[in-house]
Amino acid sequence: MKGGEVDKELKIALPKGRLLTETADFLKRAGWGLSDYHEGTRLYRIKSRRFPHLLAKMFSEKDIPIQVAVGNYDLGICGLDWVKELLARYPSSALVKVQNLGCGEDALHMVVSRSLGVTTPEELTARAEVIRIASEYPNLAESFALNLRLRRFSVFPLWGGAEVYPPESADLALVPGRGDKFYEAGLVPISQVLSFSAFLIANKTSWEIKDLGEAVASICEQSVAGEQYRPSLDMTPAPEMAGQWPSTKAGAVRLALPDGHQQLPTVSLLDKAGIQIDDYPSPTGNRRPRVNLPGVVAKVIRPQDMPLQVANGNFDLAITGRDWLKEHLYQFPSSPVTELLDLKFGWVRIVAVVSNDLSVDGSDGLRQLCAERSLPLRVASEYVNIADKYARDNRLGMYRIIPTWGASEAFLPEDADLLIENTQTGRTIARHNLRIIDTLFESTACLISNVNSLASPGAGRIESIVETLRRALKES
């Protein structure tokens, strides 16, 4: 492409998920005439009728500020929450907040369990014991802790479902949402960390040297700066939650059940084992289903988050994927988490993927590619530690790991060179004009535990559940 063409080209990162519908409506009103930007689309690259030089790509919202800050995109639309999350850790990121779009309003609150009896953040600062904070926003959670001068704290970075962690699995959770949601979950907001809405953001360099005028103007004309969301802090007590959450000392077993698409095969296996669970999967999003087995309690959390939670002794048993177990063990080799059973369902391959435009085969080819080029190899993955180990083990020389939060296929070839991804059939990969060049390992669902739980007084009950599941697996 000639220099002039590059200058004209305009790249924008658009959100999937929560903000998709509102953003699509917004850009429609702004006359962008976007192809294929709607719920359920399988194409991540989008064209605009109004701006022929515009290239739009869809990303998970959390990826957008990073992609804009590193200069892969001139513009991006995402919630201000993810912008602040990036800036909390990397304050010199090259981002310009251009325009509040006045939609997608929400707030981030630090919440505690009502049972704790705490109503202000200051009540926590005197505590000498470790205060555990669970959140999808670990950087904001950490700066909250530092600003509050908590004496000792730890942050659990999560993929989701933070509201189910307090009080047993964390003392505090930093969560998006409003009063009603907290009330139902037995939570009390003690501090509003952020009130936010969707924003148009720009890369600082693009903003300074490129002509983004027409596209930015079309957005600014449409945006009615929305009323900032003011939460009403509801401090009235709600009824106590059913089911006490015991510690291991009490001899009960704490089970973590997966949310998302592993729910149905999990139910089917538990059924075969004669373990009934009420309200799981829950149409209302209940994350504390009741287990019809004496001495067993359950919470529904993300499979990605389970190994870390089991390592910390917050759960005795969890149903997750071997990919997420390995991801955890590669980060923390001496972790007390161990696999007890291969549950056989949820089979995927973890593969190394490149663009079809790249004539590379296998890890030897990658190594050669790295040796030949002067720029670092960009490795995108949801599995940061698996990707890092793969690059180390294969001596990929100078490389960078780009953490992603879903829709990783969209990164190749423009925004990454190599992708470490899971796949069942390989069809999604092929559809994005990508090619598998290596298989790292195969993964299925597995039952994991903590070696300390297995040595605790409650171990007998854990073993009997494992045995029941083992028999159910054999019969199936």
Binding site: S143, R149, L150, R152, L308, Q331, F332, S334, S335, M398
Partner: protein, 410 residues
């Protein structure tokens, strides 16, 4: 691919290391003479060692190098030491608390992020801590030690600037500010905003004059503090106790003939200090600082033990030390040139020369041979040794290595 030095770091070249070792050597010497013992704490500490004190400002804690260790699944981070004193306080509590008082010193690096990358993010310090003593003499001993080191390095014209953390805190309380507001202003002073005091709106009008006097005038004697006490002691009773403590130390400095200036609005980087704060400056920059931090050891989890200390900053000091202060260790170096069949003998001779106290090395092809005073040829034929004095331009034959040593000693 060209591998670059990490942004915000620096290499210390041989010439800089010579300066570094000179400073370190003088510092160690004076510390040992004053009865201080050397310690070295680990580069990695738990982050909570630094958050637990509640004294480092959030802005400072936002610049530390913290990460999850390989066994950090609990989510608690470890950190590259951002401060020299707090680890020593931990060390004291872990190892020496039974012994009562302790005099400790260290030479260490500390790591703090600096956004432009133009300044180094890894800084070196020479620090001394006097733990378990609360007298003005202890504070003055530290100031005296610091000056002995600087004088020993041939530096003169060092300025001493004094402030008092207890006085600043008492003033903020005396202004009638809320506790939250007091903390905010104090944090801003610690983060280097010296003007923040001038912007404070006192809730108690009688405090305004005291505030104005304190921040605008720069005193040069204990008399200045005594005048302040007479002026405001009645209106703002909170100021009395810290002023008395400050006067005690400053009076001792007066009798010892120290020149200094009092500037209470300067407090950058003195997070955990409770009493006197002193800073050492050349014309260009700050080269050291210290003071009294009586609350630190209890905050780190120890008993109520008072302490004070200081650190000299190696990075600016390395620039300030004049080359004349550097010795020239290479002046008497000796180059041993062994003929190929005499290499074994060459190694043995170098060993003998080292044992005799000489700097000697074997000739290696490709090495620059300039800068050697002596060259010794080790030959397979007679004479076995030929010693060249390159300064006096003279060659002398020798039969044994003992003859060579005798010639060198002449």
């Amino acid at each position: 691919m060209r591998v670059q030095r990490c942004k915000g770091t620096r290499d210390l070249a041989p010439e800089e290391m010579a300066r570094f070792r000179l400073i370190e050597g003088v510092f160690r010497d004076r510390c040992l003479k004053w009865g201080y013992e050397e310690v070295r704490t680990p580069t990695l500490e738990y982050l909570y060692l630094f958050t637990a004190t509640g004294t480092l400002t959030p802005s400072m804690l936002g610049k530390v190098y913290s990460f999850l260790d390989w066994d950090g699944w609990s989510g608690e981070r470890v950190v590259l030491r951002p401060d020299g004193t707090i680890p020593v306080a931990r060390f004291y509590i872990d190892n020496m608390v039974e012994g009562g008082s302790a005099k400790l010193f260290y030479v260490t690096n500390v790591f703090i992020f600096e956004p432009t990358g133009k300044e180094t993010r890894e800084k070196w310090q020479c620090g001394a801590e006097l733990i378990g003593v609360s007298s003005p003499s202890a504070d003055v001993e530290l100031i005296t030690l610091a000056f002995e080191v600087l004088t020993g390095l041939g530096l003169d014209g060092i300025r001493l600037r004094l402030s008092h953390a207890g006085l600043i805190r008492a003033l903020l309380a005396g202004l009638g500010l809320s506790p939250a507001e007091q903390n905010r202003v104090f944090d801003q002073i610690l983060d280097g905003d010296g003007d923040v005091l001038a912007k404070v709106k006192p809730a108690r009008p009688q405090a305004s004059k005291a505030l104005a006097s304190l921040i605008t005038s720069k005193g040069k004697s204990s008399g200045f503090l005594k005048t302040l006490k007479a002026q405001f002691g009645q209106d703002i009773p909170e100021l009395k106790a810290p002023l008395d403590a400050f006067i005690d130390t400053v009076s001792l400095l007066d009798t010892l003939g120290y020149d200094y200036e009092i500037d209470i609005s300067s407090g950058r980087g003195f997070e955990y200090y409770t009493g006197i704060i002193f800073q050492l400056l050349t014309d260009e920059e700050k080269i050291g600082g210290g003071g009294r931090y009586d609350a630190l050891i209890p905050l780190v989890g120890g008993r109520d033990v008072p302490a004070s200390g200081f650190a000299l900053y190696l990075d600016p000091l390395m620039k300030a030390v004049r080359p004349a202060a550097l010795g020239k260790p290479g002046a008497q170096r000796l180059l041993v040139r062994a003929e190929p069949e005499m290499v074994t003998e060459g190694f043995a001779i170098v060993k003998r020369l080292h044992q005799a106290g000489y700097s000697a090395e074997l000739y290696l092809a490709g090495r620059d041979v300039a800068g050697f005073r002596w060259a010794l040829d080790v030959r397979s034929k007679a004479p076995p040794f030929l010693l060249t004095d390159r300064v006096k331009r003279r060659k002398v034959e020798a039969q044994t290595i003992d003859d060579v040593l005798a010639l060198l000693n002449r």
